[in-house]
């Protein structure tokens, strides 16, 4: 009795789909999800196994092992091969390389299986009641494992660390003469209000009396200095928290000898 081979047909279908989408330039990598994962890590090895081994030669554990091993080998060696090509290691070249392996091997595998008799599944000897009991245990194990992952994930996501605020100063890349870029980013636990003072050689040239940032918020600005850059020795930016105005919370400085656009 001859049967079709849905698995190899699925390999061909998925391979053609992924290759087609990627080569058409459609940015679907993130949408490929599980298909992309199968395309890279499972399909090449499965197809190669079907092409290289006649049905019945390998038992299930051997089949799985060799399929995974061949997939890993295909990708590991494929990177080296693609590096020798003008296209390099990009989505399109990977799609062509791995897809070709999967398609070619699937075709060979299908031809090897043409005319092969259908294998009969093993007759089960367990009673229905016992099968239901085991199924319940399996489902329970999966649910508890999923629960473990959720517990750990939530614990990591909500772990408390000391809060902090970043302050930085940089000469901007494309600004005019004598300008600097200042930024503040809050990684505090609650909204904060800050005061920022900019000094040039200890003289205040600019002050922002109230900068409010929510957790994760960023404030940046480019400041054109009122004096020529060549005559400046040092530029200081001092950040204060409005709930503690007497203490310098963060401090950065830029020396005149540092690279600033002149």
């Amino acid at each position: 009795m001859v049967r079709r081979h849905p698995a190899l047909t699925a390999v061909i279908t998925i391979s053609l789909l992924v290759m087609g989408l990627v080569l058409a330039g459609i940015p679907v990598q993130e949408g490929l999800g599980i298909l992309g994962l199968l395309f890279v890590l499972i399909l090449p090895g499965y197809a190669l196994t079907a092409a290289l081994f006649a049905p019945g030669i390998l038992d299930a554990p051997e089949h799985i092992t060799i399929a995974i091993g061949l997939s890993i080998s295909a990708a590991a060696i494929g990177g080296f091969v693609l590096n020798l090509t003008p296209w390099g290691l990009r989505a399109s070249s990977w799609a062509m390389f791995l897809g070709s392996i999967s398609l070619g091997s699937s075709v060979v595998g299908l031809s090897r299986r043409r005319g092969a008799p259908m294998s009969r599944p093993l007759a089960t000897t367990t009673r229905p009641k016992r099968r239901r009991g085991k199924a319940f245990l399996v489902v329970a194990a999966v649910l508890v494992t999923a629960g473990s992952i959720m517990v750990a994930y939530r614990g990591a996501a909500t772990q408390r660390y000391p809060e902090f605020t970043q302050l930085w100063i940089q000469p901007p890349v494309d600004a005019g003469h004598g300008s600097v870029r200042i930024g503040v980013r809050s990684m505090e636990a609650a909204p904060r209000q800050y005061k920022l003072r900019l000094e040039v050689d200890d003289a205040v040239v600019r002050e922002w009396s109230s900068i409010t940032l929510n957790p994760g918020g960023t404030w940046e600005t480019t400041v054109v200095l009122p004096v020529r850059r060549a005559s400046v020795e040092r530029i200081d930016a001092l950040l204060y928290r409005l709930d503690r105005p007497a203490d310098v919370y963060r401090r950065v400085e830029l020396w005149g000898g540092n690279e600033v656009n002149e």
């Binding site: 890993i72 990977w94 000391p162 605020t165």
Partner: protein, 624 residues
Amino acid sequence: MTVQAAEKRTLVDAARNASSYAAEAEGPGWGHLPALGLIGACGLLLVACAYTAGRADLPVGTLLRWIGLLLLFVPTAFRLLSPAAARRERIGLLVVLAMNFYLVKVLYSPLEFRFSDEFQHWRSTDDIMQTGRLFQFQHFLPTSLVYPALQNVMVALISLTGLDIFSAGIVVMGLVRLLFVLALYLFYEQALDSAYVAGIASLLYMANPHYQFLNAMFTYQAFALPILAYVLFIIARKQRTHDVGSVGLHLALLLSLVTVVISHHLTSYLLLAFLVLWTLATFWRQRKRNGLYEPHRPEIGGTTILLFVLIVTWLVYVATVTVGYLVEPVSAVASELISLTTREANPGAVFRPPQGPSWERYTSYAAVGVLLIGLALGTLQIARKHQRNALVLALGLGSFGYLGGVALRFTSGGAELAGRSFPFTFLPLAFVLAVGLAELSRLPRRPWIAQLVLVLPCIGIYLGGLTSGWPPYWARLPGPYLVEASERSIEPQGVEAAKWARSALGRNNRMATNFTNFHLMGSYGAQDPVFGTSALFFAPRIGSEQVAEIRQKELDYFVVDKRLSSMLPVRGFYFEGWEAMAQRYTEPIAPGMLAKFDGVPNVSRVFDSGDIVIYDVRTLSHGP
């Protein structure tokens, strides 16, 4: 399969099975796998709760962790030591156990990498994603660039799924974990045609000190080891296949040999060493036996030669940097070992016992004792009953490599090498131990007490692995920040500083910093951190000598973490393992040493996040 080949195979197998162990259960059932799977899942849940408790700094976390880890291992060990389990069930139990152990590592840090080695490979992968090319130079871990197999798989997966590096790494290492457990079991099974021995050997391998964490990290060694097991399985399988499927196995072997060579240097060298042993054992044992001719198996010799050629070719034409990377530490350790044997050195002076509570130290020592006894028993059984089996003979000889690992602990630089050798030396050792244990199972009567006696050594080895393995006792649970405490030092302020450096400073600036920020800046920061700068940090001020060193090293930035002065370094050093006071600190680094960059002319303080400050020293280094 031809009739003649089938008959020949049957006769050979019958001869080989003459000494098979406890009557192997057959049948399609899954036995107790569902129930044991549920128990294992409960153990995993306890471990997850332990991690959550650790993050909240609750002491109950330690107890929960121990109970959870025991629940994962002990019930499965009981079942695998029972002759009643069918082959299918054994494989299922081992797969479930292996994946649960993998989740023990993943759940430790489910949001980001935390182990220093993982950052190095994160960077390698990121560089390839940026450029689309291999072999882009990087100071971080030069050898990882010339063994790009892991990165190739990662880049393929990321390119076609859009996953980030961390998520893709979890998937890839999970898949090779599955490959490892299956390949290892099947390899062991091929050796003695015994699912019983293979199950015990696989279980004991998973009890090695580094299986749960080091073997599961996102590193090229952890990636290559399953490929090694896969190669061994293919070779062993080929030796039992006469005609059918041999072309497929030949191609699978060729591809896997190439993969292991381009995956990791030491793994391929140690594989070669084992194949040499196997080849020698094969040609030595090739003789007429029981009226049957042992099938002539020259392929093992050909495979060994092929692997040698591949290794040399890769080393000469691509990976020459490996020589310098390996020669220095290996020769240093070798000269120390020679000094020990000639009594020029005192082993007690350099031996560092495992850290932690005293009961853990005694457990570690006891586990070594159990391993040595098991090694002796297993070796005896091999000599008595299996000396005509070339593969078993090779495994028996290879198991003595474990003694080399023990000896390395008595050198100053060998403790880490010893630790990194266990994943390899346990491969043959676990099999030899299983042979010894399986022999004990041939008792005529096997009450549950007898089975308990068999399980106790397994539990002892497992506990010894937990107490002497990674992570060290102070990092077994995630928790609040500690100074230079490996994974306990990875926290948001350092990570965000590194990300700022990448976006604001550009890539590949040469940076001087402490060990933790070295890895963060080198990975998330895409910078070029430089080793050997500890003297600059310990100098009381920036004088002409320090300026000269900054220029000589072409440093661009200093990343100063003021928390270093708040406590002693948990790992014993702040910057490099060879810094002047490493392992001998009695007080933290002085705050003044870290603040000396403030007010230095032409040293700009460009970033301040409270604890982390970044200084721009390009004017000092390169001139105005």
